[in-house]
Amino acid sequence: MWTFIHKLGSPKHCYRIAGYFIPYLGTISIVCFIYGLVGGLILAPADYQQGDGFRIIYVHVPSAFLSLSVYMVMALSATVSLIWRIKMADVITKVSAPLGATFTFLALVTGSLWGKPMWGTYWVWDARLTSELILLFLYVGYMALESALEDRHMAARASNILVLVGVVNIPIIHYSVVWWNTLHQGASISLLNKPTIAPSMLYPLLAMLVAFMAFFFAVMLMRARCEILLREQKSNWVKELVQTT
């Protein structure tokens, strides 16, 4: 086990391992995506309350879930990088941020599009939508700091610290927003609590969740490979690789 972790430290090895996993993750994500789409859009019965509008949850819930779990992945790799000083963890944190921001943006847009038929307005200061919005600010702040610092090592370590500060604040922000929401709008049903889910509705949702997760890891590893090539361009394994392709 230890040699495996040690191997992860070497960029050459990471590049190869990432290359090995990408096709598998890609196929998983495509298969689950298709099943989720077919199941969600066609097979699942319409919701008695929201009619067919509820089908947006097959896209909204996975992206909302992903927006938070990507931040957790970044927090994990930031901790690994700060404590064990594995340089590859910096690569993972850096490449995951734009993906996390994309998922958060998707969650916001699909949430507001779902809100229109239910509540009549595009933007509703619902607790979860508001914390998604703040999460988007955290992502943007991370990416801004990462790109502002020129020196690569300093940029990585400083933004790792910011991610950890962010991860401590996420639950605080979430619960203060939820409390603030109940204060002003009373305990009205929150837009996003899932209606009672029949199994035929649930499985496509789980499939979409798996599809999104597999998609995230596949694309993150692809971006990581690009970053590794750039960072190790002077080492000879990259030179050989460039010559062979």
Binding site: E150, D151, R152, H153, K234
Partner: protein, 216 residues
């Protein structure tokens, strides 16, 4: 004390660095560089501009983490004796570290408090030794660059640290002040301390033998 300072290399060196590697941006400044500094020793680090002299000094005083390599203080890894290592080491870099609005005395009092080691001499004595007696109560902003550099060097006396790491200490100093500072360095080395400095001028330290370390 005879002219030749006796560096007994049996005892562990005050400061010892093993195969350091330093990068700036994508460029490797130096790789597996080893260096040791003994008590009673003055070391002149030489190298062309951009050869990484300043980075080396900053690595040795703990400001800049080396990409690879270990640093030992009196034989023990720096990470285990942080307190003593930092208390016994004083660094004067390109930036003087002097607040312009404060007088020289106030600056030195803060510097004195910042170093846990028993302060050697009071701020006024240190400023006397550097010939700054007449400007003690002036805000440092009004002092000339040479005078501000001397206030920074006075911090070394006040701190009582055993190892002095000086980055171009003689810039902006005129001849007799350079002699004054050299005398202080000699006195410090003879009293058992160690000095590591970089300088573009010829460094004349009468009374002690100056070792060289060139960075290519």
């Amino acid at each position: 004390m005879n002219g030749q300072n006796n560096i007994n290399t049996e005892v562990a060196p005050l400061l010892n660095a093993q195969n350091l590697l330093c990068e700036r941006g994508e460029r490797v400044l130096f790789a597996n560089l080893s260096l040791s500094l003994y008590a009673h020793q003055a070391l002149h680090v030489r190298g062309v501009n951009g050869s990484g002299k300043t980075s080396l000094l900053r690595i040795l005083c703990g400001l800049l983490p080396a990409v690879e390599g270990e640093i030992y203080w009196c034989g023990r890894d720096v990470r285990h004796c942080q307190h003593e290592y930092r208390a016994q080491l004083a660094y004067v870099g390109h930036k003087s570290g002097i607040k312009a609005e404060l007088t020289a005395q106030e600056n030195l009092r803060t510097a004195q408090m910042l170093l846990a080691h028993a302060p050697a001499c009071s701020p006024t004595d240190a400023l006397d030794r550097l010939g700054l007696a007449n400007v003690i109560n002036l805000p440092c902003g009004l002092l000339s660059a040479g005078q501000q550099q001397r206030v920074a060097l006075a911090r070394l006396l006040v701190s009582g640290a055993r190892v002095w790491i000086l980055d171009e200490p003689f810039t902006a100093l005129d001849q007799n002040i350079v002699a004054l500072v050299s005398a202080l360095i000699v006195e410090h080395v003879q009293a058992g301390g160690a000095v590591m400095l970089t300088s573009h001028q010829v460094v004349a330290l009468p009374g002690i033998e100056l070792n060289y370390f060139t960075l290519n």
